[in-house]
Each structure stands twice: as C-alpha cells, then as structure tokens.
Symmetry: C2
Subunit: 351 residues, 2 copies
Amino acid sequence: MLKFGIIGFGFMGQTHADTIEKLDYTELVAVCDTNAMQFKQAPEGVATFLKAEDLLATDINTVIISVPNHLHLEMVKKVAEAGKDIICEKPAAMNAAEFDEMMKITQAANVRFTIHHQRRWDKDFRIVKEVYDSQTLGNIFTIKNSLYGFNGNMHDWHIYPEFGGGMLYDWGVHLLDQMLVMMGDSQLKSVYATVRNVINKNVDDYFNIQLYFDNGITGQVELGTYMLSEKKDWFERHWFLGGDKGSANIDGFNPSGSITRTTELLQSVGGKTTMTPAGPTRSFGPPPAGRIVSEALPEVDVNHEMFFENYHRFVKGEEELAVKPNQIYQLMKLVDAIRESAETHQVVTLD
Amino acid sequence: MLKFGIIGFGFMGQTHADTIEKLDYTELVAVCDTNAMQFKQAPEGVATFLKAEDLLATDINTVIISVPNHLHLEMVKKVAEAGKDIICEKPAAMNAAEFDEMMKITQAANVRFTIHHQRRWDKDFRIVKEVYDSQTLGNIFTIKNSLYGFNGNMHDWHIYPEFGGGMLYDWGVHLLDQMLVMMGDSQLKSVYATVRNVINKNVDDYFNIQLYFDNGITGQVELGTYMLSEKKDWFERHWFLGGDKGSANIDGFNPSGSITRTTELLQSVGGKTTMTPAGPTRSFGPPPAGRIVSEALPEVDVNHEMFFENYHRFVKGEEELAVKPNQIYQLMKLVDAIRESAETHQVVTLD
C-alpha cells in the first residue's frame, strides 16, 4: 500500500488527493500547505499540517511534492532526509543543476524518486507514438506538437517568474518530454527556440522550439496562450507527423484525425511539361477526387492513473520505473538550452 | 509600348506570352527556345528562334528571361550587351554572388532590370500586408506563411539541382520575398532553417525557415510538397499572424479567414485558484460562447498583371520600380544563408 502525504495542497495537490482516494493500492494520510484555507478541500479523515516537518512525522511512505516550482529542491531535501519516497510535480526543477542536486540527494538517501509526468499517458500522445513506432508513414521528416488557446494570461503563482512561472515550465516540459520519449534512443543534437511574453508581462506565454534529432527528424513544439481561431469550439491541441509515405493529423486530447496518403504521386519527367489536374499553381492546388485516402488512427486505452499504476508496480519490483530521473535530467538540460537559445538567438547544442 | 522578346518558352514563357497578348501597352515580337516543339504554343505572327542572338536582333526593347535558373546569368549578360531592358524570372539567380554580377552588368549596360516577383500582387499576401500595416493586432509576435500540397514530386527541370531545381528556388523565393517586403524597414537579423528532400531524391521539397527580425517578430516560412490532410478540397495556403490584441488566419490564394479577438482575458490573481470555464486543462480548452469575436479581413483588389503595369509606369517615369534589384539581392543573400543554416544546423546572421 502506498501511504501518501501531499506537500503543497493547491490545484495539483487537490487533484492528486482525488486520484489517491479512487485507487485501491493507495491511501492519503496527510496533506500540508502554508495556506490553511486549502484544507477545506482535504478529504475527511486526512490530517492537515502547516509544516512539512509535521507531515513527514506521520505514518507515510511516499510524498507527493506539489508546491510551486522554486520550492521543489528544498522539499526534496526535507523529504529525502526523512527517508520517504518522492513523487515530485513537474517541472521537476528550475534548471538542470537543481535537478542534478535532487538526483544526488535522493540517491544518497536511498529513496525512490520520480516526476509526475502524467502526460506520457495522454491519449493523443499515445496515438502519435503508436503511429511513429509503427513506421507506417515511412521516413518521417517533421513532427509538430502544438497547443494554442484563448486565455492569454497564466493563473495563480504561474504569473511569477521567481516561482517558476510561465508556460515553458507549465506545459513546455510536458510537450518536450513527449518528444524526447517518442524519439527513444535517437539523440537530440541541438535546439533553436523563440520564447516570448506576449500577454503576460513577466513570464513566457509563447514559445516555438525547433528540435534537431540525430535521426534527421525536426521536432517542432509550439505553444501560445493567445493564438486564436474562429472555428467552432476551438482550441488547438494538434499533432502533425509528415513522412514520405503519408501524413498524420491528430487533434484534441481525446483525438480525432487520420492518417492520409496519396494514391499516386505526380510523375515528374524532366524536359516535358507535366501539369497537375487543377489549381492555382502547378505544384499546389486541390487534389483530384480519390487522390487522398485516409486510414483510421490506432486505438489506445490510457489514462493518467497509469502513472501511479506504473509507480506502484515499480515499488513492488514488478515493472521498470516509467519516468526515470536521468530522462528528466535530459529534459531539464533541454529547458536550459531553450532559454539560452531564446536569449542569444543562436542554436544550442546538447551533449 | 513595351515590345517584348521572350527567351525560354516553357511554362512561364508561355504564361508571359498570354499576359502580353492581353495588355494594351505591350506587344510580343519574338520568342526563343532551344526546343522547337515549344513554338507550337507561340501566338500567330510571333517570330520564333532557336538562338537568343537572333531574337535580340529583332525590333524589341524588353526581354523576359524565362530559361531554367542556372542560365539566368548567361542570358542577362547577352541581353544587357544587346542593350535591351530585362525582366528576369525568379529565382533571380543561383546565389547572391551571381545576382551581384547581374546587377553590375545591367548597371554598366544602362538597361532596366527587374525580377518577375508577381506574387507581391497575390491577394492573400496583400490582405496579410494590410492587416500587418494597420497594426490592428497590436504587437505581433509571429507571422506564419505556409504552403502544403499533395503532389510530392517537382515537375520538369525543377527535379535537377544543377538547373536550379527544388522548392526553395521555385516557391521559397516568393514566400521569403513576401516576408521581407511586409517587414519594410525592419531588418532581418538571422535565420535558422531546415531544408529536406522528402519525396524528391535530388532537390528540396520541404523547408522550414525561422526568420528573426529586429522588430522582434519571428517569421515562419514552411512549405512541403507532401504534407497531407483529409479535409475536403484541401490544399493549404495559410497565413497566421499572432499579436497581443488578436490573431488573423488567412487561407487560400483567394482567401477566406478572419481577424479574431477575445472579449476578455483570463484574470490572473496570484495565490487564488482561478479556473477557466471548461476544458481539459486550466489554461487550454474550448472558449465559452461569445468569448471569441471575429472581424472581416480587409478587401483588396490585385492581380498579377499589376507587375507589368508597375513596370510600364516605371519605364514611362511615372512610378517607382516595385521589384528593386537591391531587394532581390537581400533575398538571394537570405537564400544562401538558408542553405548554409540547413547544412550546418546553425543560425546564420545576415548583415
């Protein structure tokens, strides 16, 4: 049985409490927050504390750290010293150096350590990963992973840079982690990034990240909190995979979309004028009827509780840990590189 | 009266013949091609020649050069020596050094010299430019200029790299020229580019170009000849402009689309849990009814014949030349920089 304490009982802490109440291999023992108002949201029978030290003295074996980002390192230290296993919210740390320290601390204390990257079990991502793994698109040249919305501003402490606010920390680490996980053994060589404060004065709310992998694929991760469209019920969670045997478009968290191919390609004969059937240019125009054919996306059955299922099996020695600290170290190095690239307008090489 | 000879009577040469036949201030005197089969497409009464020298001996004052790209420099030399004015097809040259030579040759010969960048009069581009110039979107952070199709292959000599084939030369120079013209006095600082041969073995058919301007705008130019979608009558000619006061989406050569804004932004209060109305995350989800409002795109009335009208007025001393050689020199320097960036995977700085 995983006996949990939660440090930081804001939005994510409360979400974790809901999950823990639902699962049959978990128990929520105590929560802690510096703001006693949050305890109104605590389930009945759960102890509440203003200080992490008091929570750590209870009968728990695992702590979820869901305080603002700048406090993760400090809390990981406290919890590791108390000998409890740790699930820390994302972004794991403010930078790679901090995360390196966390890895050393938890190793030295011999406690389990993982990061709550639940979006590895997002349905859209798993479909994309299955399309990618199946090689059905031939040689893939680009993968776009994008998210656009209408809200503009950040919420809560995410508006403060000193708390680790901004969208690169909030959503960026998810989108980037998905890219790195999908690429598997392929190495990220370099990154070029634009990061902007569009609506928010002090934190980033737009980024466009170009990832260059040693398998030749260009990964494009773009997010904007203020990129609008008049399409009905619009918000955009979009994946595009382009290969030399077809494309895949995957839209939404509970995705629609398809794999598309052409029944034939333009036959190109040098020196002879070949014309495409119609349209405003020779190379671009609407396809003739039947030229583009669609296939259904693969079915996947995933949910965010699978993060905890994996962790539980890992604790029981039945499964490998899914979200490995060394993966997250690479991710944090990438986040550092993105900030450097955005500031210098140069490519930053990863090693 | 502009009395034209056309050197190179393939697809574009024939297109120019059609245009010249239509306009009341132009006359087509002669055409020339190394392939006599093309003369079947010549209008009645127009002289046809296998050699440029013979065409240059006729009673013409202006020559359109529409031979494959690698022959532009050689033909510009011949025509300038014959003292005729020159309208050269795009891409103007294979690289900036070649174009520099063309500028020097035509200046020394004191002949008029311009490049057929007719897509400055594309309706979609002009609408975008008007949205940009009107500043109605507030501070713009990104402009995307993209073109995707289903054909895959290039046509005719465009499949041969030694002829100046590939999409960067064919369409890239149009899309890039539009970006540079729209930015006006703002300087392009640097470029990061991916250029790939996806379907075509020897020439590029995909590129993704990130332009960084000194006004802070990120220009994104992406083209793929094999980037598919199952949308009805689909091919994608898309512009997106993102600003802090709204977005603009412009689709198609005869465009549909709109300017979109929000009636209010998420009010962000630190330390308090503020929730967006609905959707799968706090920051992203479908907007509530009425939150996104649309405005019509501006109306513009343009067509490609305006390239010739401008040139004609320029010859009569009534108007400034629209497509200036020094603009095209900057464009060719950019194309060189794109190739360098794609090869080195580094940012290339423009001066």
